[in-house]
Amino acid sequence: MGEWFSVAFWACMTIYAVVVAAQIFGQVFNKPRWVERATYGVAGGLALHTVLVAWRWIETGHVPTIGNFENGLVGGWFIVVMTLWAGWKQRYPLLAAGALPFALIIMGGGAMSDTSARPMVASLQSFWLYIHIFFAWLAYGAYTVSCGAAVVYLTKSGKNKSADGEVLGRLDELMFRSVVFGFITDAIMIASGSIWAKNLWGSYWSWDPVETWSLLSWLIYGLALHLRITMGWRGRKLAWLLAFAIVGVLVSFWGVNLVMEGSLHVFNVG
């Protein structure tokens, strides 16, 4: 990436990191104004982040979807947008402290890989690519929000904590609704990816590790929904499940290609 782009990118990362630190500080040392004001930092970081996405789009001439860097950049944008919306809408700004670290991880991880601009290669010129990736970002953003809400729930509730029931109720509802949203969009992601795979590789399912992990994580969230709807799991039980369920998502998006070779799901081309 160019020099000015690099400066803007790391400035954005710094803003998010400062926001997370401020919210954690505010929570630990009981300074609620730090938590609330940090939300404005999220909005400011998001504005800069949006500029970065548009910049990359114009520079490459296509939607930034190629490579770990572009996927991290846009995936992180979706996470921040959904975190900001959920936190604002639910009047719970501390959500950013639980969700933004994931944006930092995928953006930082992407920045460690090849950041050079690449063309939209023939294998990626497909209508199904845009559907697949768009719904992947929505799903992962929603799962991150659910994880963030779960983390906040766990920090607010507990034996020796006098938590506000209404606040916990809103967090519980946010966990559930974000998982539902993520489950539906994840299903669309898997289906559209399968159709694209059939077009590109001749087979709609190849038991590629990334495919298998994404299916596994989808089933885990399906299990969470089942436990909530039919078994009445809520509150801390559900929060613990959702706090760890995000691991499957991180592995399928990021971990497989770090650890294994031979996956057809290569995010970097060239």
Binding site: G165, G169, E173, W196, K198, N199, W205, P209, G270
Partner: protein, 334 residues
């Protein structure tokens, strides 16, 4: 159900760190199929038993969410059946077809074909001719921005297939382009210039720098080739400028047994002379690699996707079927 859950859970976790071929081998084992069959029967029975409840929900309170739940789980049945059909009936064959060469599904024209399966006795017969292959590259790098082939069928119709846009020839059969390479046409001449033999040879000589060879039936020689698709001579040295087939040249190296008979870079109609013979490559075309895939499970699986998605969206309508959190004392009410 518990045993199946544990078995498949263990397999799923193991599959996440295993290469695909290992996972596919597991799917051919008896325990996998026994448990799979039991789950399929269980799903079908549950769906059947649930029908009266669904009818009651729809007639009395029009709970579309209930229909959504039902359809979503019906979709799993479609997916499971589609998967079985794929395992039992998927066939794939690979073909290299040169521009201008008619492909008629003769056994000698297939490069590879998957073994016959229970529901797939052989590769479906297909006939076509490649009219044109168009690869385009980004700058000078091995990144395709376009790779497509124009095909003509015996009926006279034409169609274009791209690397990620297959042609459907029937509900379960499609033709897709999966690669390309160079096909030089050689001419072998005697001392008097009489052409002894001429043919196209499909070689694995892409990208430039890749080396392949061919032999001729009545001659003991082995001819090694590299193709430079866009050659220029810089300071007396042939240099390849791009990946586009503009001014092609062939780097030839001739052997007879262990005897090295020399090498040369041939451009256009230039010939190389060895042991009373001359060899030249007046023309280079593209060959395209095509896969003919018959997968009876694919339409069923895709139908399952549609049914499942409709079910999920229907679930969003109407009242939620579980308790909602009540503000105040933090208690929940059914």
């Amino acid at each position: 159900m518990v045993a199946a859950g544990l078995y498949y859970g263990f397999l799923a976790i193991w599959a996440t760190s295993s290469p695909p071929h290992v996972v596919q081998n597991i799917a051919s084992l008896a325990p996998f199929w026994i448990v799979y069959g039991l789950l399929l029967v269980n799903t079908a029975v549950c769906l059947w038993n649930r029908l009266p409840v669904l009818r009651r929900d729809l007639s009395s309170s029009r709970r579309w969410g209930s229909l959504g739940t039902y359809l979503f789980h019906v979709a799993f049945f479609f997916l499971a059946v589609g998967f079985v059909l794929t395992l039992l009936g998927r066939q794939e064959a690979s073909v290299w077809a040169t521009v201008g060469e008619p492909f008629e599904s003769r056994p000698d024209q297939f490069r590879s074909a998957s073994a016959p399966r229970m529901m797939a006795p052989g590769v479906p017969a297909l006939s076509f001719e490649v009219e044109r292959i168009t690869p385009e590259f980004w700058r000078d790098e091995l990144l395709f921005t376009t790779l497509e082939a124009d095909l003509r069928f015996p009926s006279g119709s034409t169609a274009t297939t791209r690397i990620n846009r297959p042609l459907w020839v029937s509900p379960a059969t499609f033709l897709r382009m999966s690669g390309f390479g160079y096909t030089p046409r050689y001419e072998l001449l005697d001392r008097d210039g009489l052409i002894l033999d001429s043919a196209f040879v499909k070689l694995n000589v892409f990208p430039p720098g890749q080396r392949d060879y061919f032999t001729l039936p009545d001659f003991p020689h082995r001819f090694y080739l590299e193709v430079m698709p866009d050659v220029a001579i810089e300071e007396g040295v042939p240099v390849n400028r791009s990946l586009n087939l503009a001014i092609p040249a062939v780097a030839l190296h001739v052997h007879r047994g262990r005897l090295d008979l020399g090498r040369a870079v041939l451009v256009g109609a230039q010939a190389y002379e060895f042991e009373g013979l001359r060899l030249r490559f007046p023309e280079i075309r593209y060959w395209g690699e095509f896969s003919i895939v018959r997968d009876p499970g694919a339409p069923v699986v895709f139908l399952g996707y549609i049914v499942g998605l409709v079910g999920l969206l229907l679930k969003l309508t109407g009242r939620r079927p579980e308790a909602e959190w009540s503000a105040g004392r933090g208690e929940h009410h059914g």
